[in-house]
C-alpha cells in the first residue's frame, strides 16, 4: 500500500513537473534601436514603449515567476552597427527574441543574421516592402506601407478629389524609396496622375529647387516621403515658397516633433497612422496614461508599437510554455485577435500585422482624426 502510494505520488510529481516545465527565471529580450543621431526620436520612443511594456508584463505575473529582461543596444541607424549589435545579442547575450531595428534600411542588413540563427525578430517601426519576406522568423507589428497608404489615400481622395499629385522622397534611403514606390502604385490605382516626382539625398537641407519644380506642375496634392530629419524643413520650405495645397506625409511624419518644431508649417498635414493618441480603445487609453506618467510626455505610434511588441512576445511565450527560440517563433505565428493597445491584433500568413489604421491630420497644433 505504502509503495503504491509512494509510486503514485512520484508519478504525479513527475507528470506535474513535466507539465509545469518552468520558464527560466530571467528571459532575455534583445533590442537594437537608433538611440542617437537623426532618427533617435523614433528609437528612443520605441525603447520607452518596450521598457514600459516589460515593466507591466513583469508586474502582471503573466509569465509566472519568469521575468523579462531587456538588453538593448544603439544601432546608430547604421547597417554595420546593426550587424554588429545583432551578432552580439544573438551570440553573446543569447536573447530569445530581438525587437528592432529602427530603420528598414538597417533591417535589410542585419535581420538575415537573426533569420539564419533562428532568432525571432519583431519589427516595431519597419514599414518597407520586403521586411517579412526575409524569412519566417521575421515579424512586425508596424503596419507596412502597402497596408496603410491605400486607405489614407482613399480618405484624402474622398475629401479633396485630387486629379494630380506631386511626390518628393529621399532617393538613397530604403524606407523612403519603398514608400514612394507604394505611393506611385496607389496613386495610379486611385486614378490620380503623378505629374512630378523629385528626390533629394542624404544630408540635403535645401529642397526649394525640387519643391519649386513640383509646384510648377500645379498638382492638387503633395506627397512627401521623408524621415523626421528632413520632414520638418521640407514642410517649412514647401509652405514658404507658397505651396498651399494639402500635404500628405508618409510614416516618417508620424512623429510629434513634426508639430513641435514644424509649428505653423505642420498645420493641415495629413498622415496615415497606425494608431492615434486619442484612440478610444481602453488598453490604448491605459497605455497613454501610464506612459505619460512615467516619461512626462505623450507616446507616439512608435512607442505603442514597441509596447505592443512586448505584449505579443509575452503572450507567445506563455502559449508556448517555453522560452525556446523556435517555440516562440511558432507561437508568434499563431497570434490571432489579441486585444492590444493597437486594437484587435493578428499576424497574417506573412507575419505582417493586421489591425485597423487611421488617417490623422494636424489641427490647431495637435493630431486629430482626418475626416
Amino acid at each position: 500500500m505504502k509503495r503504491t502510494l509512494l509510486s503514485m505520488a512520484i508519478t504525479v510529481a513527475v507528470i506535474g513537473g513535466i507539465q509545469a516545465a518552468p520558464l527560466p527565471t530571467t528571459i532575455k529580450v534583445g533590442s537594437a534601436e537608433s538611440l542617437t543621431g537623426d532618427n533617435a526620436s523614433y528609437g528612443v520612443s520605441i525603447r520607452q514603449g518596450i521598457e514600459l511594456g516589460i515593466e507591466e508584463m513583469n508586474a502582471s505575473g503573466l509569465l509566472g515567476s519568469a521575468k523579462l529582461q531587456l538588453v538593448i543596444y544603439d544601432d546608430k541607424a547604421d547597417k554595420q552597427e546593426g550587424i554588429s549589435v545583432f551578432n552580439k545579442l544573438i551570440n553573446d547575450d543569447k536573447v530569445v527574441t530581438i525587437i528592432g531595428p529602427t530603420l528598414s534600411g538597417t533591417a535589410f542588413a542585419c535581420v538575415p543574421i537573426a533569420q539564419k540563427a533562428g532568432v525571432p525578430v519583431i519589427g516595431t517601426s519597419l514599414t518597407a516592402v520586403g521586411i517579412t519576406a526575409m524569412g519566417n522568423y521575421v515579424f512586425r507589428d508596424s503596419l507596412p506601407q502597402a497596408a496603410v497608404i491605400p486607405g489614407t489615400l482613399a480618405a484624402v481622395a474622398a475629401k479633396y478629389k485630387p486629379k494630380k499629385a506631386a511626390l518628393l522622397f529621399q532617393a538613397d534611403q530604403e524606407y523612403s524609396k519603398s514608400e514612394a514606390d507604394v505611393y506611385k502604385a496607389s496613386l495610379a490605382k486611385a486614378g490620380i496622375e503623378l505629374v512630378a516626382s523629385e528626390s533629394y539625398s542624404k544630408g540635403d537641407a535645401d529642397f526649394r529647387t525640387q519643391l519649386s519644380k513640383l509646384a510648377a506642375k500645379k498638382p492638387d496634392i503633395f506627397v512627401f516621403c521623408s524621415l523626421i530629419g528632413e520632414a520638418i524643413p521640407v514642410l517649412q520650405q514647401a509652405r514658404e515658397i507658397g505651396i498651399t495645397q494639402p500635404i500628405l506625409g508618409g510614416n516618417g511624419f508620424n512623429n510629434p516633433n513634426v508639430i513641435k518644431n514644424g509649428k505653423e508649417a505642420a498645420e493641415g498635414l495629413i498622415v496615415g497612422a497606425s494608431w492615434f493618441v486619442e484612440s478610444k480603445n481602453s488598453r490604448s487609453k491605459a497605455f497613454v496614461a501610464s506612459y505619460t506618467k512615467k516619461y512626462g510626455s505623450a507616446p507616439d505610434q512608435f512607442a505603442v508599437q514597441g509596447y505592443t511588441a512586448v505584449q505579443i512576445l509575452a503572450t507567445a511565450i506563455k502559449s508556448a510554455g517555453s522560452a525556446d527560440r523556435a517555440a516562440i517563433r511558432d507561437s508568434l505565428a499563431k497570434i490571432k485577435n489579441l486585444d492590444t493597445a493597437l486594437g484587435t491584433f493578428s499576424f497574417d500568413e506573412n507575419r505582417d500585422p493586421v489591425h485597423p489604421s487611421t488617417p490623422i491630420t494636424v489641427k490647431g497644433g495637435k493630431y486629430a482624426l482626418f475626416e
Binding site: E198, S199, S201, G203, D204, A205, T209, E240, G242, N261
Partner: protein, 308 residues
C-alpha cells in the same frame, strides 16, 4: 525630358537667384577654409565642425536669449574665432613645434572635428533646431507679383553679407600690413620669420579670421535651411573642399568664384537635368574633374604660384 522648363524665364531667373545664394554661402565657407590652407598648407578638416558650433551659438543667442540678428551674427563670428584659436593652440601649434608633417596636422584636425561634433551631439541632442521667425521673417518676396521670382530675406542677407565679407577680405589681404604679412607667411614661412614677421602671431590672426568667416557661414546657412543639427557640417564640408580645389588652394578670389560656380551648377543640375537631384553630386565632381584636367592648380591658381 520636360522641355517646357527650359522655356520658362521665371524658372531660369529663380534658379539664378537660388544658385547664386547657394554659391555665396559656399564662398563664405570656403574663404576661411582656403585661407588656412594658403597660409599653413594644411587642410583644416575641423572647419565644418566650427561652422556647426557657430550655428548653435547663434541659436543660443537668438532663440534662447532672444537677442536680435546682428548680435546673433556677432556672437557666431566670435564663437568661430574662439574655436579656431583653440584649434590652432591645441591641435596645430604643438605639431608645428615638433616639426611634424602636414599630414599629421590634417589628421589632428579630423580628431578635433570628431570631438567637436560628439560634444555637440551630447549637449544638444539630435533634434532639429531653427531660429525663431522673429529673427528674420521667412516669408519670401515675389518679384513682380505672385507668380514671379521668389527671393527670401535669408537669400538677400546671404548675397549682401557674402559680398561685403568677400570685398572686406580682399581689401584686408591686399591693402593692410597684416594682409601683407599673411601673404608673406603663406609664400615662405622661414623667410617671413627672417624678415622679422611674428609668424605665430600671423597664424593666430589667420585662424581668427577663418573662424569668424566659418561663424558667418554657419548663421547664413542656418537662416536658409532652418535645420541646425550637429551633423550639419558634413554636407558643406565636401562642397567646401571642392570649391577650394576648384578655385585654387589658398586663393581667396578663387574661393569666391569657385563657390558661385558650384552653387550654380548644383542648382541648375537639380532644376534642368532629369533625375538631377540624384546625380547632382556626381555632376559637380565631374565638372571639378574636367576643370582640374585643364587647370590643375584650380581656376585661379594657387596662392603661392601667384606670388612666385
Amino acid at each position: 525630358m520636360d522641355l517646357s522648363l527650359f522655356q520658362d524665364p521665371i524658372f531660369l531667373a529663380q534658379n539664378l537667384v537660388d544658385g547664386l545664394s547657394r554659391g555665396a554661402l559656399y564662398g563664405v565657407y570656403a574663404i576661411g577654409f582656403t585661407l588656412i590652407f594658403g597660409v599653413l598648407d594644411i587642410l583644416n578638416l575641423a572647419h565644418a565642425a566650427t561652422f556647426m558650433w557657430c550655428a548653435f551659438a547663434g541659436y543660443l543667442v537668438m532663440a534662447e536669449a532672444e537677442l536680435p540678428l546682428p548680435l546673433g551674427l556677432a556672437a557666431a563670428m566670435l564663437a568661430g574665432a574662439a574655436i579656431a584659436l583653440l584649434l590652432e593652440l591645441l591641435a596645430f601649434r604643438p605639431l608645428r613645434r615638433e616639426g611634424a608633417d602636414k599630414l599629421s596636422a590634417m589628421i589632428s584636425s579630423i580628431g578635433a572635428s570628431l570631438i567637436l561634433v560628439s560634444l555637440a551631439e551630447a549637449i544638444f541632442g539630435a533634434q532639429t533646431r531653427r531660429f525663431p521667425n522673429s529673427v528674420l521673417d521667412p516669408k519670401p518676396h515675389f518679384i513682380g507679383g505672385a507668380g514671379g521670382v521668389r527671393i527670401s530675406n535669408a537669400q538677400i542677407l546671404i548675397l549682401i553679407a557674402s559680398l561685403v565679407l568677400m570685398v572686406a577680405m580682399g581689401l584686408f589681404i591686399r591693402r593692410t600690413r597684416m594682409g601683407k604679412a599673411i601673404r608673406a607667411v603663406a609664400a615662405n614661412q622661414k623667410a617671413a620669420r627672417l624678415l622679422g614677421i611674428d609668424v605665430n602671431g600671423v597664424i593666430v590672426v589667420t585662424f581668427l579670421v577663418a573662424g569668424a568667416l566659418a561663424g558667418a557661414a554657419g548663421i547664413l546657412v542656418a537662416l536658409l535651411t532652418n535645420n541646425i543639427v550637429p551633423g550639419m557640417g558634413s554636407q558643406i564640408e565636401l562642397r567646401g573642399l571642392a570649391v577650394v580645389i576648384l578655385g585654387g588652394m589658398g586663393n581667396i578670389e578663387g574661393a569666391v568664384v569657385g563657390g558661385f560656380i558650384l552653387g550654380l551648377v548644383e542648382t541648375f543640375t537639380i532644376a534642368y537635368v532629369p533625375g538631377g537631384s540624384d546625380i547632382k553630386d556626381a555632376i559637380v565632381f565631374f565638372i571639378l574633374f574636367i576643370i582640374l584636367l585643364v587647370k590643375p592648380n584650380g581656376i585661379m591658381g594657387k596662392l603661392k604660384a601667384d606670388r612666385a
